[in-house]
């Protein structure tokens, strides 16, 4: 029996809409969140990741109203990240139908948060997320707050500590590849899948369904996530929601 690949659209929330960035900048409006999620639902998407790219940056809580409307349309797993600073916020999100909690910046600013979340909600509910960039010497470093603040700690050490704190999955996004549709940073994904024994979700750069398949089959990611690939069509990036069907998956 072959294990079915996991392909995950990442949808970025900003001002009640869905946007898509390039290298974490230039957010382009894609559409209404409910409509977009409905389309993915009809396409029987494996699961969905929603990231509020303003919440932590603007120090505001998640947009519960919007998320509630979205999750009531979702009959697949929904993970959410953005502004999850406390147990209470996580609890509220889970109660409105979010399946998994994604923590990025808040884990950096509150070193016990992940441990507490894992203890209360269980490992498989908590996804750790890191945004990684290369410097001019091709060395990797981390950024938090939607890529606005540089962190001076070895990202691989940080990832290892997240695993030790008990996260059930790791979402790794290459900032340099985000929205570029030039393929995943395979070297980065390789290094991380060798480092940890939890499932790794690769994000940033997917340009076609072959990329999704390869990052799993060759670079050992457990899931392939993408933004642009699932919301844009053609070289002029016209908005079109697409998702691999059973045939595309072969």
């Amino acid at each position: 029996m072959k294990v079915r690949h996991r392909y995950i659209p990442i949808l970025l929330i900003k001002d009640n809409g869905i946007y898509k960035t390039r290298r974490f900048k230039k957010p382009k409006y894609i559409g209404d969140p409910i409509n977009i999620v409905k389309i993915f639902n009809e396409k029987e998407v494996d699961e969905i990741v929603l990231l509020d790219i303003d919440a932590s940056k603007k120090k505001r809580p998640p947009n519960y109203e919007l998320l509630k409307d979205i999750t009531s349309e979702c009959f697949m797993p929904v993970s959410y990240g953005g502004g999850i600073k406390s147990i209470e916020i996580a609890r509220e999100l889970l109660s409105i139908g979010v399946e998994k909690i994604i923590v990025n910046s808040s884990a950096w600013f509150n070193s016990v948060l992940i441990k507490e979340l894992v203890e209360i909600f269980g490992s498989s509910t908590i996804i750790g997320s890191v945004d990684i960039k290369k410097n001019w010497r091709n060395k990797y470093y981390m950024k938090v707050l939607s890529g606005t603040k540089r962190i001076y700690m070895n990202p691989f050490k940080w990832i290892k500590s997240l695993e030790e704190d008990g996260i059930g999955e790791l979402l790794v996004t290459s900032i340099d590849k985000d929205g570029e549709m030039s393929g995943y940073d395979k070297y980065l994904v390789d290094n991380i899948t060798k480092l940890v024994s939890i499932p790794v979700i690769a994000a940033g750069g997917a340009s076609n369904y072959g990329d999704l398949k390869e990052i799993i089959d060759i670079n050992n990611a457990s899931a392939a996530a993408a933004g642009s690939l699932f919301v844009f069509h053609g070289k002029h990036r016209a908005v079109l929601i697409t998702y691999p069907n059973e045939e595309d998956r072969q």
């Binding site: 029996m1 079915r4 639902n41 494996d46 999750t71 399946e99 909600f121 269980g122 024994s197 457990s222």
Partner: protein, 206 residues
């Protein structure tokens, strides 16, 4: 009316959501009076085995559930942790389970199996239905059924006649049990699109 037992473990809103989608009434409750009157139950849950059992005890539900399920024999569906709690015990904890199935909950041990098998086992997996059981819960699901899983522990059942479904992750494992009025599934039907809707519809129709 389906009664969903709320014992502080995880996301039960999504079960109510999908039931609403298929037009089935449900309520979420932890009150003994409500559960006493229930005619059909769902025992959901995510999280650890011991926390789950302790929360059931804290809400004084163990004895009541035994009465409803074993004496009154109303239909019950256990989901994920709810399924594991129906076994005798789990390698995850020290608490005794409800013991409705002659089964134990074990941790995946995939170290010696070739390939990369990270835990938890997360994602959509194909399942195989034990056709000998002729399970009403699974009717109409025989065409390439797949469901969404998130788990590191699985059920190992001694009585093979109770096994309703199997899947595979590194090795084959049981992902559904059935005995008389008691049903359980390891996966999350509430997050499994039309496959989940069909399963819940079948449960509602029992």
């Amino acid at each position: 009316m389906i009664t969903i037992i709320d014992y502080n473990t995880g996301n039960i809103g999504s079960i109510k959501n999908i039931l609403k989608k298929i037009g089935v009434d449900s309520r979420i409750t932890n009150k003994k009076e409500d559960i006493k009157k229930a005619t059909k139950l769902i025992l959901p849950g995510v999280g650890s085995f011991d926390t789950g059992m302790k929360n059931l005890k804290k809400n004084n539900l163990v004895e009541l559930l035994n009465e409803k399920v074993l004496s009154e024999k109303i239909h019950i569906l256990g989901i994920c942790l709810g399924a594991q709690l129906m076994t005798n015990k789990s390698e995850e904890g020290k608490e005794k389970g409800l013991g409705w199935f002659d089964a134990d909950t074990k941790k995946f041990d995939l170290k010696n199996i070739s390939g990369r098998w990270p835990l938890p086992n997360i994602g959509w997996r194909d399942i195989q239905i034990n056709m000998n059981l002729k399970s009403n819960l699974l009717s109409g699901l025989n065409k390439n059924p797949r469901f969404y899983f998130v788990h590191s522990y699985y059920i190992s059942c001694k009585n093979k006649d109770n096994i309703s479904m199997r899947s595979e992750y590194g090795h084959p494992f049981t992902c559904g049990l059935q005995r008389d009025n008691i049903y359980c599934v390891q996966f999350h039907p509430e997050k499994s699109h039309r496959f989940g809707m069909k399963l819940f519809q079948n449960f509602a129709d029992l």
